[in-house]
Every structure is written in C-alpha cells, then in structure tokens.
C-alpha cells in the first residue's frame, strides 16, 4: 500500500496508484472499483457511458439517475446529460478545454443541482476540486491542467531522458494522451491477438509473454528474460516504450480521417487461389505476401497523429490483423504491422513518414529501413512457426 501525503489532504492508493480513499477536510470518499462512497454512503457508480447518481430522499427511497457523457477523440467529456421521464435529454454540464486541459470558463455550463455535477472531465479523469487545487487524478500522478505539467516526476523518466520528467503527453496533448501518468505498453485485445504475438516468437521466448491485471503485456515478465531473438526484443522495445500499442484481430476497424471525421473500413479476405501462385511467399522474401498465399486486406496499423487519411481514433497505435487469416499468416502479418510500422513509429518518436511505405517508380519500396525491419521479422516468424509444427 502506498500513501501520497499532500499538503491539502490525504489519498490512500494501492501499489499501482489506484486511489482507494480520499480525505479532504471532513469528507471521506471511498473508491471501491466503480462504486464511489461518500461518508459511507454510495454516491455514484461509474459506467462505460458516464455514471449512475444515487440520491436518498427523506422518505427512505433510493433514486438512481443515469448520467451520460459525450466525449471527443481524446476522451475529454464535452457534454454531460441525463434523461427525464419523458425521454428528453437534459444537459447537466458542458465543458470546453484548452489543449492542455484547462477549462474555458466562458464556454462552460453547469446545472444548479450540485449533486449532478460531473467531475470526470479532461481525458475522462477525475478533477480533484478539494482545496481549490483543481488537479486531475491519472492514477500514478496528479496533473495540473493549468500549468500543463505534472507535479511529480515521471516514475519511468529514464525511458525518455531527453524530456523533462514533468512534461505532459510530450508537450503535444492534441496528438497524445497519457492514460495513467505512466509509460505505456502493448495491449493485445483478445486471446487470439495474444496468441498471434506469441507465434512470432520461439516457444521458449513466448513463455515470458503474459498479461498483467490490466490486460497489457506484463513488463516485469518480459524484462526478466533475455533473448537474442529480434522479434522478442522488438516486442520488449514496444512494451517499454511511451506508446500504447493495441493489437487486435478483426475484419474491420474504426478510424478518424485527417479532419477528425470518424470512419469504418472492412477488411476483405481471399483464400489461396492456385491460379495466382505468386501470392505464396514461402520464405518471407516479400513485405506483403504470406507463406499460405492468402490475400485481401490483411493488416493495418493506425497511428495516433492526425496526419494520414486513416488515423487511430483513441490516441493509441492500433495494429489490426485480418481475423480470417490462418495462424501462420496472422503471425506473418503481425510481423509486418507490429514489428514494422508500429515499432518504427515508436522508435522514431512518432515519425509517420519513417514508419510508412514510400513507393517509388515501378512500385519499389523507397523506405529501405522499414522494408528490412519487416522482412527480417517475417523471416524469423516463419522459422518460429515452422518449429512449432
């Protein structure tokens, strides 16, 4: 158990920085997962769409009121509303923000009913209003949106020694978010995705890939193992980087375009067709081919900046591999997307151009560094998959 003593009050947190209790003046707030108690009375329940407020009229009843949030692409809550009995939405609160999170008072709206007030605002984090500090609780640290800085250093500051450990989102809060005040990691979003990542590795190296309690690849487990495998060290590099890399298998994906408009794209799939034998790439000599000859829209990497035609909608790097592919092809395409595009983006600190294909006359790859990364990783994956059979 770790306790953060501050001049203004006392927060009790667990080892991961998750707040368990806040004492501010005479009021004690307990955080039990999504259930928030104030002076031992259940005050509200946090939900995926907002929260459920509880009120206790004098007649002894308990009244539940659902409250909904409308958020932008960074998870900032812009409008909070609840619903009347006549099914009409009633706006409770409107919030506008400067890039680093300070609210624009002139554009805000607050209902007079103080019990309905929503404090989950910038990046969806809870605003700590106690004692007039107005800091946001990100878990590992408190963030001061008025300064655009953290008040304590980054616990993983050594991962970006060229940056001040007090910076927020690499000084680019429109491009990046910092979901918990820590450096982030690789997050497979399904068992299938985790298996796909493991299939790029030797069986011995794969034993050290496991998920932590948040569903991310466990840093301690991967860092406890040394290997000469390029694929293993690529994964380790991403896990220890300052980016969230979400890996999924699917046949569609959501994106936002350069103007911030949301979109969705389907991923086609074609079985191997003997009429097109050149689709097979048995030794991993090509960037886009597979040993199985399957074709279609095989994989996609979405970057968190807004400079492409299709960009990540949630501030993370998203790697999507076509879920209809065979196991071998999935691992090969992950090698392309994850150990090529995503890793290059991480390695270059968000250089989209360096992490993207550059096609020259005759459709030759001009980005030789990226090409070599992809082909080297694919070749290793093919060997590792063969050794499993």
């Amino acid at each position: 158990m770790h306790t953060k003593e501050q001049k203004t009050g006392c927060n009790t947190c667990d080892a991961a920085g998750i707040k368990l209790r806040k004492t501010a003046g005479s009021i004690t707030t307990d955080y039990v997962g999504n259930f928030i108690y104030e002076d031992n009375l259940l005050k509200y329940i946090i939900t995926d769409y907002g929260k459920i407020n509880l009120s206790y009229p004098k007649n002894g009843d308990t009244v539940f009121t659902r409250q909904y949030n409308l958020t932008d692409h960074l998870g900032n809550v812009r409008v909070t509303f609840d619903v009347h009995n006549n099914n009409m939405a009633d706006v409770v609160q409107e919030d506008s923000y400067y890039p680093f999170g300070m609210t624009m008072n002139g554009l805000d709206y607050r209902t007079r009913d103080i019990d309905k007030k929503n404090l989950y605002l910038y990046n969806g984090k809870e605003l700590q209003e106690d004692f007039g500090l107005e800091w946001y609780d990100y878990g590992a640290r408190f963030y001061d949106a008025q300064l655009g800085r953290w008040h304590v250093p980054d616990p993983l500051a050594e991962q970006a020694y060229g940056w001040t450990p007090y910076r927020y989102a690499f000084n680019n809060p429109i491009k990046y978010i910092d979901p918990n005040g820590l450096y982030e990691t690789v997050k497979p979003t399904s068992e299938d995705a985790l298996e796909m990542i493991k299939n790029t590795l030797t069986e011995e190296d794969a034993k050290h890939i496991q998920l932590d309690s948040k569903g991310n690849i466990d840093k301690d487990a991967i860092n406890s193992h040394e290997s000469e495998s390029g694929n293993f060290n690529n994964l380790k590099e991403m896990v220890n980087s300052d980016y969230i890399v979400k890996v999924s298998t699917d046949n569609q994906f959501d994106y936002v375009d350069g103007d911030g408009n949301a979109g969705n794209a389907n991923m086609s799939y074609c079985d191997y067709d003997p009429k097109f034998p050149t689709e097979k790439d048995p030794n991993g000599e090509t960037m886009g081919g597979t040993t199985t000859g399957e074709s279609g829209f095989l994989g996609k990497t979405l970057f968190p900046d807004r400079n492409g035609m299709q960009n990540s909608p949630d501030g993370t790097i998203k790697v999507i591999v076509n879920k209809n592919l065979s196991k071998a092809a999935k691992a090969e395409i992950y090698s392309h997307e994850g150990n090529g595009h995503a890793l290059m983006y991480v390695r270059t600190g968000g250089d989209r151009e360096a992490a993207s294909h550059q096609v020259t006359t005759g459709w030759k790859e001009h980005n030789i560094t990226l090409k070599n990364m992809i082909i080297t990783s694919k070749k290793e994956t093919i060997i590792n998959m063969k050794s499993r059979n």
């Binding site: 009429k275 689709e279 074709s295 005759g362 459709w363 790859e365």
Partner: protein, 178 residues
C-alpha cells in the same frame, strides 16, 4: 426437364461470361483530322457510356479474364508488381506521386448515364484499320466491374482516392500497338 436444365445452364454461362458487358457501350463519336508541318494527324474519340443503374469501376489490364470478375480483381489488385500490390497501396493509403505504367494504377469510376472518352492521336492517315484496331485494343484491355462486386474486395471509399480525375484520357496510337 432436361431442356430446362440446359437452358438454365446456358443462362448461367451467359451471365458469367458477359458480366457487365451489356451495361457499358462503346461508341466512336468523332474523328478530327489536321495537319502540322505537312504531318497529318487524326484524333479518334471513343466513348464508353454506362447504361446501367450501377456505378462501374474500370481499368486496363494485359490479362483479361472474360469469365470471372473475381480473377480480374485479384490479378489487378492483389498481384504484386515490384514490392507492392495495388490493394496494399490502397489499404495503406500510400500516395502515388511517381509516374507508373497505366497497367499498374489507372482506375476510373463511371456513374450511371455518365461517359468517359478515350482520345487517340493517330499520326499517319495511312495507318491500316486504326479505328478497328483501337476498338479491339480497348475491348481487350478494359475491365469494368460494378461497385457491388469490387466492394467485396476493396474498400470503395478508400479506392475513390485513387480514381483518375479527368473524364478523358489521351493515347498515342503507336503506344497501343505494344
């Protein structure tokens, strides 16, 4: 019963072998002659018109399969040329700013009742059967597939970023012969 089966088989065969054929009309619309420095030129205009209710996408290919739209799509979009297939370029939203062979990345949509014009510059009036040869070239090389069929394989919205912008394209007659 046997006859009905044979008729159905024939109809299926017809529908497979002529996918889209009846929807697109080729028409020779104009021949213009002129002379510069004693060199005669003819500009031959051949128009294709979409008579259907569907949007069509067309391209030029050296390997046309008259029986299968799927094979034509796979050949044009999924076969690698150089380091990439056209589908990879489209799916990765790669900007193509370098000139490439017309058989690599020329792609054009044609909406219902809209037309597209091929203009061919013939350098010498004495060229044999240039009209017929040009029509043959176009019919042999043009592949057109309706939007519903192509959207099974390629995201139409993304593909639209690669459509040829103008409503006409120019060729030198001699270049068609290679």
């Amino acid at each position: 019963m046997k006859n009905i089966f044979l008729i159905m088989l024939f109809l299926i065969f017809i529908s497979e072998t002529n996918y889209g054929q009846k929807d697109i009309n080729f028409t020779e619309i104009e021949k213009t002659s002129y002379s510069i420095n004693n060199q005669d030129y003819i500009v031959l205009k051949i128009q294709i018109v979409n008579k259907s209710n569907l949007e069509y996408i067309f391209w030029l290919s050296k390997k046309k399969d008259t029986n299968s739209a799927k094979n034509n799509i796979k050949d044009y979009f999924f076969t690698r040329k150089g380091d990439f297939s056209f589908a990879e370029i489209i799916n990765d939203n790669i900007l193509l700013d370098k000139p490439n062979s017309i058989y690599f990345d020329f792609i054009k949509n044609i909406k219902p009742n809209e037309d597209f014009c091929f203009e061919i510059l013939v350098k010498d009036k004495k060229q044999d059967n240039y009209v017929k040869k040009t029509e043959c070239f176009l019919k042999e090389k043009i592949i057109y597939v309706d939007e519903n069929e192509i959207s099974k394989y390629i995201n139409i919205k993304t593909l639209a970023n690669y459509y040829y912008k103008s409503n006409s394209i120019y060729f030198l007659y001699d270049s068609l012969l290679y």
